[in-house]
């Protein structure tokens, strides 16, 4: 817009951002095409993108906002509100460790320390080899077989330090 007409809100230009790499752009477009017309479309759209890419690239925010005729703040607000959505790639496997009360009663606090030591990372971090990301979770609904750990989409109960080591091996074998 020129200086002369800057007070006339003719049209809101989407803010310039670097174009998404083709793979990401395709995933974002597919998610939008699939859910755009649904009521409350933003939540399924974000899930769809994260399912495809493993995370939601920050540069996708203006694309989604523009497409849904929402503000970037609204889309960004969703990403920052929900613990599950991530804006950076994770490791190959995500380990969700339950920190809630039922698991605490069966030793989850100790397990948490052991897991962090074993992986050498804290929550929300990824191991140096890119294999595992550790995330806290508050209840996996497996409270009678605590402590619980979800590795990717596989749930494990009665986990102790020894069992956890075995899970890491299983996860890596499963992918090979």
């Amino acid at each position: 817009m020129s200086k002369a007409n800057r007070n006339i809100p003719l049209k809101v230009e989407p803010q310039r951002t670097p174009p998404l790499p083709p793979e990401q752009a395709a995933a974002v477009r597919a998610a939008l095409d699939l859910h755009r017309d649904a009521d409350g479309a933003l939540l399924p759209i974000l899930h769809s993108i994260q399912d495809a890419l493993g995370y939601i690239p920050k540069d996708a925010v203006p694309v989604i906002a523009h497409d849904l005729n929402q503000s970037r703040a609204e889309v960004h607000g969703m990403l920052s509100f929900y613990h599950y959505f991530r804006t950076h790639p994770s490791g190959r496997h995500i380990v969700y460790l339950c920190r809630a009360e039922a698991c605490q009663s069966m030793g989850a606090r100790e397990l948490e320390e052991q897991v962090k030591r074993r992986l050498g990372i804290d929550f929300h971090e990824t191991t140096a080899d890119g294999q595992f990301t550790l995330e806290p979770v508050y209840c996996l609904g497996n409270c009678a077989c605590a402590p619980s750990v979800l590795v990717d989409k596989t749930l494990h109960g009665r986990v102790d330090a020894e069992r956890f080591d075995a899970l890491l091996v299983e996860a890596q074998e499963a992918q090979e």
Binding site: L42, Y84, G141
Partner: protein, 544 residues
């Protein structure tokens, strides 16, 4: 000897059963059967709820379904050798499932089919009494359906225990051509898993309940808002909804009646607060899950501003049996103003953890010892948290409280969604109180200052108390902070977080004494602030 028709074996597909190896067991049985030429059909059922016996293997025999458990892969060869396909004796043999004490003593209404049927077989569902409630409802006027639900005494099973019939009546009478039925399947409370077990073990009953709710208030669109931490339930619901559409249980001609109801599952994204009904509605609308001010009630202005019934999974899943057997049948179970049954969940440090559906009125002690068998570790049970992370911690002296909404309210407790988490005597209650505040800080939606900021201050004040920094004044400060949170928060997260804290302080004050919990002051969650030597000024609390 294998009969011409072969043997039918049930191995649960429930997430908890899978978490302790049910898939591996099912695979091993089928491999062993294949190699030994046995004709075996494996049905993956829901769980019977005796989770300490999972993986539970049931074999159909002329004498009934004989159970073996807990079965591990290494046991399979021995089971075949013992002739378990015909109910042969084995160290793991438990007898017929229905005769196992834990199961026999229950009153299963809502969970009648869970563990019995193949969850995704609509034929099984019909054979075991499914769709009778809906068939009745299709013949009834909307107001009559609502009356039956009101007369049954059914109250919201999500935790707030609001009478379902009143909610339905409000939505029925609300003006509007577009109305919604929303199922709250954001079961975030630790120690609860009944919603999950039901959705995985009998998803059609939830669908049927939602269709009936739609008929009752004139809604034609339903949403199940499911937490993303439940991938197994998600898969089960998606498959069940597809089957329901294919068989005209959903769609534009329900059971040939010409009535329509559409149903969708929406996944949450890891926010505990979205279990609160108004946050959930905002989340469904594609927004941050922030609590709304009530009024307006969702029944009048809910999803997208339209009249909306929002009920918990168990509430909606209890509707079909009420419409099938009548209001009086359901109401005759229970005590006082708590009518019907409650699927209770025994969790945490408990020997026989699992699901117990019973009429209201039995005591906590009966649940913990007669069903639960005491702690898993064999040590004395010292504290029990009932009703999730916002429920009070109860000491042994309160174990005789009956399972009843009012009885729990009278001891400043909360029955909530029926989750019971046991702790043995190694528990550090100052740590548990601290965690309640920490959890609130992590999960607060941020709308109300007492919740958003008070929870973080709460963690700090508890750390000061435990570290013996100005104990007296900090304890006063903590109580004051709790009072501010209780009275100054819009929803239950900020308003109830103080209950576990205050109950720990009241019943287990010795744990807050210096030297008791060295680790409390050095947690690892990133919420810590540098320790202060002086107590916080009162102005820092709740003032924003």
């Amino acid at each position: 000897m294998i009969t011409a028709t072969g043997s039918t074996i049930y191995v649960s597909r429930d997430a908890s059963a899978q978490a302790v190896g049910a898939d591996r067991v099912a695979r091993a049985i089928s491999e062993h059967a294949a190699s030994s030429g046995a004709d075996v059909r494996i049905v993956r059922n829901g769980s019977r709820g005796m989770l300490w016996l999972e993986p539970l293997v049931e074999v159909v025999t002329p004498a009934g379904r004989i159970a073996y458990g807990p079965v591990q892969v290494k046991d399979i060869e021995g089971l075949f050798a013992a002739g378990f396909l015909h109910g042969g004796s084995h160290a793991l043999k438990l007898g017929t499932v229905e005769d196992i004490d834990y199961f026999r003593k229950q009153e299963r209404l809502t969970f009648a089919r869970v563990g019995v049927t193949d969850p995704l077989s609509l034929e099984d569902y019909r054979t075991h009494g499914g769709l009778r409630g809906l068939t009745n409802a299709l013949q009834m006027a909307p107001a009559d359906i609502v009356t039956v639900v009101t007369d049954s005494g059914l109250r919201g099973r999500g935790g707030a225990a609001f009478p379902a019939g009143i909610k339905w009546k409000t939505a029925l009478e609300a003006a509007g051509t577009r109305k919604y039925i929303v199922c709250n399947a954001d079961e975030g409370d630790s120690g609860t898993f009944s919603d999950r077990m039901l959705m995985e073990g009998d998803p059609f009953v939830l669908i049927e309940g939602m269709v009936i709710a739609g008929l009752a208030v004139g809604a034609t669109q339903g949403y199940i808002y499911l937490r993303c931490e439940y991938p197994h339930a998600h898969a089960a619901l998606k498959a069940a909804i597809a089957a329901a559409y294919a068989n005209r249980l959903l769609g534009d001609d329900i059971l040939g009646s010409g009535r329509s109801f559409e149903l969708d599952v929406r996944l949450g994204a890891g926010a505990y607060i979205c279990g609160e009904e108004t946050s959930l509605l905002d989340s469904l609308e594609g927004k941050r899950g922030q609590v709304r001010v009530k009024p307006p009630l969702p029944a009048i202005s809910g999803l997208f501003g339209k009249p909306t019934i929002i009920n918990n999974v168990i509430t909606l899943a209890s509707v079909p049996i009420i419409l099938d057997r009548g209001a009086a049948y359901y109401r005759d179970f229970g005590m006082g103003r708590s009518r019907g049954t409650l699927p209770l969940q025994l969790a945490g440090n408990i020997r026989h953890g699992g699901l117990v559906e019973k009429a209201f009125g039995l005591t906590l002690r009966e649940l913990l010892y007669d069903y639960g068998g005491g702690s898993a570790t064999g040590r004395p049970i010292r504290a029990v948290q009932v009703g999730g992370p916002l429920g009070a911690y109860l000491p042994e002296s309160q174990f005789d409280t009956p399972i009843d909404y009012e009885a729990f309210a009278a001891i400043r407790g909360m029955l909530g969604h029926g989750g019971i988490v046991a702790f043995d005597d190694t528990v550090d209650m100052a740590q548990q109180a601290r965690f309640a505040m920490e959890f609130c800080a992590i999960e607060s939606c941020g709308k109300c200052t007492p919740c958003r900021i008070g929870s973080t201050r709460g963690v700090e004040v508890i750390d000061h108390i435990v570290a013996n920094r100005s104990r007296g004044s900090n304890t006063t400060l903590l109580r004051d902070l709790c009072d501010t949170m209780i009275n100054g928060s819009l929803c239950a997260l900020g308003g109830l977080t103080p209950f576990p804290v205050l109950s720990a302080l009241e019943h287990f004050s010795e744990d807050f004494a210096p030297g008791r919990s060295p680790s409390a002051a050095e947690g690892t969650d990133g919420l810590e602030r540098p320790p202060r030597d002086a107590p916080l000024p009162l102005s820092a609390v709740g003032g924003g």
